[in-house]
């Protein structure tokens, strides 16, 4: 077996051990969906960081910085600062008032069935799209990383899918959390090592490092180009670049606080104070990680070079190729295994948030009006839906194929989270007049606006030259109607507007009466769900 394969198998063995351990612990809804609410602040902080630092951030950001310099760093900034919204506005009220999902908070004072049905739909949309992006990336990546082992794209996608189903179905939230923690520690260790090696290459002189970054040389259309990679604007060019950048910023800053797989993490801790501390832990880890991504990206640009990366797997291989050129094949294998672990853990996190929402919001509360007909039914439904969600994601990922243009799916997930989920969560906590009609129209407008605008954006609409074939071709061969890749700047205000108009057009006295209960619960933690047996 090749060294990367041995490391992959090692990681899989450890995580399956954890899943076995978690499955042996006592069962029950609170244990399956929220790890018994006994995860500590630092553990949850690492798990939140782990859920967030996907392959898109590790391989994707390093790749964008390696190819387009400074502009890639702007993704990193937004991804960290976004946690201030989570910390100041969302985490504590959610933990205080909810049980397993974000819809719990909405259901307090609004009519539970319509609100939960819509919230569940938007949660499933966000999670599934995000998951498909990860799966396609995983398949392409595993094939590249393990190319000596002859593992095909299909085998890789099925392997990743089956593993994530096993973690979630047998280990629940406890196993998913620990897989996430181990992966986050590995990821940060790998990034620190790689950053140190980059700096060592420049004899630990920042001056020498940044000097090299100022003169990155590569070939473009047969011409030798020398660019200052600290210069902004290499990716986001006028006329629409700056606006796209602001739109992206809005989706990141407001979308993170609406991502279901991040929100469910705050139910795994004992109380709001722990939720708060876990956000701070996550911010320290995520921030340090993203600052280091510049060393990885700039390191790859200066030490490996764009030309070499382009011919050896493309942008996503920047970080692994950097590892190879600095410390040889074993380190390349180690970094590749970390990238693989990252993808596995993130898809498992997405699967559990999707299946929790389906089982808790849709099955128990919408179809069966909040009554579990027999003990354990909710957990059983969640296990089945994890299986179904996993199977669908495997199927679509194989159908799309390894060359599919899927980056827009992540932008879509953030846009839906920011335009549909965030407005209704915020309005339900802060606006007394808010009501059921407002929540439903808000969720629907945000969802439709984000999906609609992405459909007509340059991500899906463009005229390709005939040389571009297969899955890499744009879906609609015409000039894009909406000029930005990120719909946030328009879809977020539309989400809020939808919620506002829906509210004003209807009258719901009970929602206003019950506002005081939600206000007191979310701000004091009176009657919050307590930690139980894990």
């Amino acid at each position: 077996m090749s060294t990367p394969l041995v490391m992959f198998v090692g990681f899989i063995a450890i995580t399956l051990g954890i899943t076995y351990w978690a499955s042996k612990r006592s069962s029950g809804s609170s244990a399956f969906f929220a790890a018994g609410r006994r995860i500590t602040a630092w553990q949850n902080g690492i798990a939140v960081a782990g859920d967030y630092m996907s392959a898109a951030s590790f391989l994707g950001i390093a790749g964008i910085i390696a190819f387009q310099g400074y502009d890639g760093f702007l993704f990193s900034v937004g991804w960290l600062v976004a946690y201030l919204t989570v910390l100041l506005v969302i985490a504590e009220p959610l933990r205080n008032a909810g049980k397993y999902t974000m819809a719990d908070v909405l259901a307090y004072r609004l009519r539970p069935r319509p609100v939960r049905a819509m919230a569940s739909l938007s949660t499933l949309t966000v999670s599934t799209f995000y998951m498909i992006a990860q799966m396609v990336g995983a398949g392409a990546l595993v094939t590249l990383l393990l190319k000596d082992s002859g593992i095909s794209y299909q085998t890789a996608v099925i392997g990743v899918g089956v593993l994530m189903i096993v973690y979630v179905v047998f280990g629940g939230m406890l196993a998913t959390t620990w897989v996430q923690i181990i992966k986050a520690i590995l990821l940060i260790a790998g990034t620190v090592l790689l950053s140190i090696l980059v700096l060592a290459h420049f004899h630990f002189s920042f001056a020498a490092f940044f000097d090299a970054v100022g003169h990155v040389t590569y070939h473009d259309k047969g011409q030798v180009v020398v660019k200052d990679f600290l210069q902004p604007g290499l990716r986001y060019k006028p006329p629409y670049g700056p606006l796209d950048l602001i739109s992206l910023g809005m989706a990141l800053i407001l979308g993170t606080a609406g991502l279901p797989h991040i929100l469910v993490r705050f139910y795994t801790v004992p109380d709001a104070k722990t939720a708060r501390h876990s956000v701070v832990w996550a911010m320290v880890l995520i921030g340090s990680f993203y600052i280091m991504t510049t060393f990885l990206g700039f390191g790859a640009a200066t030490i490996v070079g764009r030309d070499f990366i382009s011919t050896h797997g493309g942008t996503n291989m920047s970080a692994p190729l950097l590892a190879q050129s600095l410390a040889g094949d074993v380190f390349f294998a180690f970094i590749s295994a970390i990238a693989f672990a990252t993808i596995l853990a993130v898809v498992a996190g997405l699967t559990i948030s999707a299946s929790t929402s389906f089982a808790h919001d849709f099955w128990t509360n919408v179809i069966h009006k909040g009554v579990e007909r027999k003990a354990g039914e909710e957990v059983m439904v969640a296990r089945i839906s994890a299986f179904v969600v996993g199977a669908i994601a495997i199927f679509i990922a194989i159908l799309l194929g390894p060359t599919a243009n899927v980056a827009f799916l992540v932008a879509l997930a953030f846009a839906v989270a920011a335009s549909a989920n965030l407005p209704v969560i915020v309005l339900s906590i802060f606006w007394r007049r808010f009501n059921t009609a407002g929540a439903v129209t808000g969720l629907a407008t945000g969802l439709v606006a984000s999906i609609g605008l992405i459909l007509v954006s340059p991500s899906l609409m463009a005229v390709d030259p005939p040389t571009v074939v297969g899955a890499a071709r744009h879906l609609i061969q015409a000039k894009a109607w909406f000029p930005l890749e990120n719909p946030g700047i328009l879809s977020i205000p539309l989400g809020f507007l939808g919620a506002f108009v829906g509210t004003m057009l209807s009258h719901e006295p009970t929602s206003q009466h019950k506002f005081n209960e939600l206000l007191v619960r979310s701000n004091t933690g009176l009657g919050a769900e307590r930690a139980g047996a894990a």
């Binding site: 809804s29 800053i253 708060r276 206000l519």
Partner: protein, 116 residues
């Protein structure tokens, strides 16, 4: 109808009780104390954050001004965002200690009234 005992202990109260707590001086103090910190902190970080894409997008020449060696204003401003976020988070945790004290009072009073 949940089988788990710890979830049956959940605090429930009548509408009038929730209204009473919401109207109490202690609760109003808590909300006021929270607002004094959270509103300015939120506004500050939004303005500080969006200054970055706006300046980088619309004043790229200015942001390319070299400050230390080859390091330009754009990189330093982006880097400063991380320290801004960490500082606000740290200040919030310090301020939230006060929120917890006020909230604890309200919870204890409410639970005592129920005789729980």
């Amino acid at each position: 109808m949940n089988a788990l005992p710890q979830e049956m202990q959940r605090y429930e109260a009548s509408q009038t009780e929730w209204d009473r707590v919401a109207a109490s001086k202690e609760f109003k103090d808590l909300m006021a104390t929270k607002k004094i910190f959270i509103v300015p902190a939120f506004v500050f970080f939004i303005v500080y954050y969006f200054a970055l894409p706006i300046l980088v997008g619309y004043a790229p020449a200015f942001m390319s001004t070299k400050v230390i060696g080859n390091v330009n204003l754009a990189y330093l401003f982006a880097l400063s965002q991380f320290f801004m976020a960490w500082t606000i988070a740290w200040l919030y945790v310090k301020a939230a200690g006060d929120f917890d004290k006020l909230a604890k009072d309200i919870i204890e009073k409410a639970e005592n009234r129920k005789g729980a």
